[in-house]
């Protein structure tokens, strides 16, 4: 049974640190996938909100011809915005799982393990990406059903996947940082309620930045969601074109993610103090 003597086990030989790191990150993602497999109700319930936005808001607003969309139907214009929104909503509340895991002892178990702190944080960020994917699929399906000109070639879909996971990683890491700072569920929810509306409405998700007053335009140009929407609008729609360039969208999100991961890795172990 456990009868081998407890000397330093032989499988401790330092493996390649990079592979260790990857393996630990993937272990966190695997845990999330397995959790999702056991509870699919959440996936369904979360599909309702984007459906309401597309069906109600989208239908009504497509009758206004006032919003400059760059020559595409309004429903087309807003579909990537709603996709980004649903990713944002999943990701921005993801930090609460940190507080949850801290109140239980799960976080303590992670931190007592020799796993790299960065692997734990990155694993969480990618897990949020995984959580966002089924919703994204739902928005794609709804958009198709409603006649949005969706690009379905594999490269475009793969590119959308990258931006969805990247966006989810950015906002979930931001959320993790907030959770580390406020430390309680109530305060976390309060801060998030404050954050989520400006993030969404101060972006190009449902109208272009050009129609904003200049001060809001400037702020929205610094909103990471704007770059996520810009990228999704480009890769999701057959008539879509990028305002900032896909490369720039990618750069903004990637640099931001690296900075946020750095901060989160520093703060993460301190949440239990």
């Amino acid at each position: 049974m456990l009868s081998e003597p407890v000397v330093q086990p032989a499988d401790w030989v330092e493996a390649n640190p990079f592979f260790d790191f990857l393996r630990q990150t993937m272990a966190m993602v695997e845990a999330e996938l397995r959790k999702l497999r056991h509870d699919q109700f959440e996936l369904l319930s979360r599909a309702v909100q984007p459906a309401i936005w597309l069906v109600v808001f989208g239908r009504v607003f497509s009758h206004l011809r006032e919003i400059p969309t760059g020559g595409i139907p309004y429903l087309d214009f807003m579909a990537p915005g709603i996709l980004a929104q649903s990713v944002l909503f999943v990701a921005v509340f993801f930090g609460v799982t940190l507080i949850w895991e801290r109140d239980l002892g799960i976080l303590q178990k992670f931190l007592v393990s020799p796993a790299y702190r960065l692997a734990l944080v990155l694993g969480k960020a990618l897990s949020a990406g995984i959580r966002a994917l089924p919703q994204a699929a739902m928005v794609y399906v709804l958009a198709l059903l409603m006649g949005v000109h969706v690009r379905l070639n594999p490269t475009a879909v793969a590119a959308a996947l990258v931006f969805i996971v990247l966006g989810a990683a950015v906002f979930s890491t931001l959320s993790l940082i907030i959770a580390c700072l406020v430390k309680t569920r109530q305060r976390f929810m309060g801060v998030n309620q404050l954050l989520i509306m400006p993030l969404f409405f101060g972006s190009n998700a449902i109208y272009p930045l050009e129609i904003m007053p200049p001060w809001l335009h400037r702020i929205s140009a610094m909103n990471p969601l704007t770059y996520m929407v810009d990228a999704l609008r480009t890769v999701m729609l057959s008539g879509g074109h990028s305002v900032y360039g896909l490369g720039f969208d990618l750069l903004v999100q990637a640099v931001l993610l690296i900075v946020l991961l750095g901060v989160a890795t520093k703060l993460y172990p301190k949440v239990i103090y």
């Binding site: 049974m1 456990l2 009868s3 081998e4 003597p5 407890v6 000397v7 330093q8 086990p9 499988d11 401790w12 493996a15 260790d20 393996r23 630990q24 993937m26 272990a27 966190m28 695997e30 845990a31 397995r34 959790k35 056991h38 509870d39 109140d103 239980l104 002892g105 799960i106 303590q108 178990k109 992670f110 931190l111 007592v112 393990s113 020799p114 796993a115 172990p269 239990i272 103090y273």
Partner: protein, 269 residues
């Protein structure tokens, strides 16, 4: 086996302050390999803070400690590989099965893929959870969750095991099952076990050495029998506990009652 001469845990002047509160005050302890050590004390005595420092979760404010021969501040990774930890609160993921919990931690601990399946089955069998391994943990009983948590802590075969209030909220049978596993680990593998408790019966039954902690300081250390004779003939460990921890103004019975009421299960329902 471990060399028996080297202490499993050694602390010197280990202290932790939170603002003006001194949670742990100049703790100096030496704990031999292969022993079961019980840290006793009322709520807020500093037991959990001590465990958090020794398990690298919390940096000390001053002083230091060696765990399994490694410095908790300078060599936290090595300490982490040498210890298993069972927190006071529930630390198994309820929305995964027992097997999946073990699988995730096997990977986090870097246990090689060719051995982890076998290893998982070993710890499941040892803790008597083989039949329940594919059941979601949220359907486990309190005792089963505790056993799974111990299984999780044993997965990488640590020479030292930390348990924070391991039997709080368990019924007597589940409690005894946990005790038996502790003793078996110590006897067959020479595992050093560091546990906190405020149940005197548990300390008396299980521990080779106990230390009584109160307001951040160790008030007494020794084998339970020795501490009892120190306090008086026919003294129980309860008496010892009361002797070293109660405020002199308090009536002993009243204090003990308060401790008993407050230690109602915070976890596991």
């Amino acid at each position: 086996m471990e060399p028996t001469s080297a202490p499993a845990i050694e602390t010197s002047q280990l202290s932790r302050r939170f603002g003006s509160l001194v949670a742990v005050d100049s703790l100096s302890l030496r704990l031999n390999s292969g022993s079961i050590f019980g840290l006793l004390g009322p709520n807020g005595a500093g037991k959990s803070t001590t465990i958090k420092m020794l398990t690298t979760l919390l940096p000390p404010s001053s002083g230091g400690a060696n765990v399994a021969g490694f410095d908790i501040v300078r060599q936290p990774q090595r300490v982490r590989r040498s210890i298993g930890y069972v927190p006071q609160v529930i630390s198994a993921e309820g929305s995964l099965t027992g097997f999946e919990n073990l699988l995730v931690f096997a990977k986090l601990y870097g246990i090689q893929s060719r051995v982890y399946r076998e290893r998982i089955q070993q710890v499941l069998e040892f803790m008597g959870l083989k039949d329940a391994q594919h059941t979601l943990v949220q359907r486990y009983s309190g005792g089963m969750i505790r056993r799974l948590e111990i299984a999780l802590a044993l997965l990488h075969r640590p020479p030292i095991l930390f348990l924070d209030e391991p039997t709080v909220g368990l019924d007597p049978r589940a409690r005894e099952a946990v005790w038996e596993h502790m003793l078996e680990l110590r006897d067959t593998l020479g595992t050093t076990i560091f546990l906190t408790t405020h149940q005197m019966g548990e300390a008396d039954e299980l521990c080779d050495v106990v230390a009584i902690m109160h307001e951040g300081r160790i008030r007494a250390v020794g084998p339970p029998a020795e501490l009892k004779t120190r306090v008086g003939t026919d003294a129980t460990l309860d008496d010892v506990f009361g002797y070293y921890t109660e405020d002199r103004t308090d009536e002993r019975g009243g204090y003990k009652d308060a401790v008993r009421t407050r230690r109602t299960a915070r976890r596991l329902g």
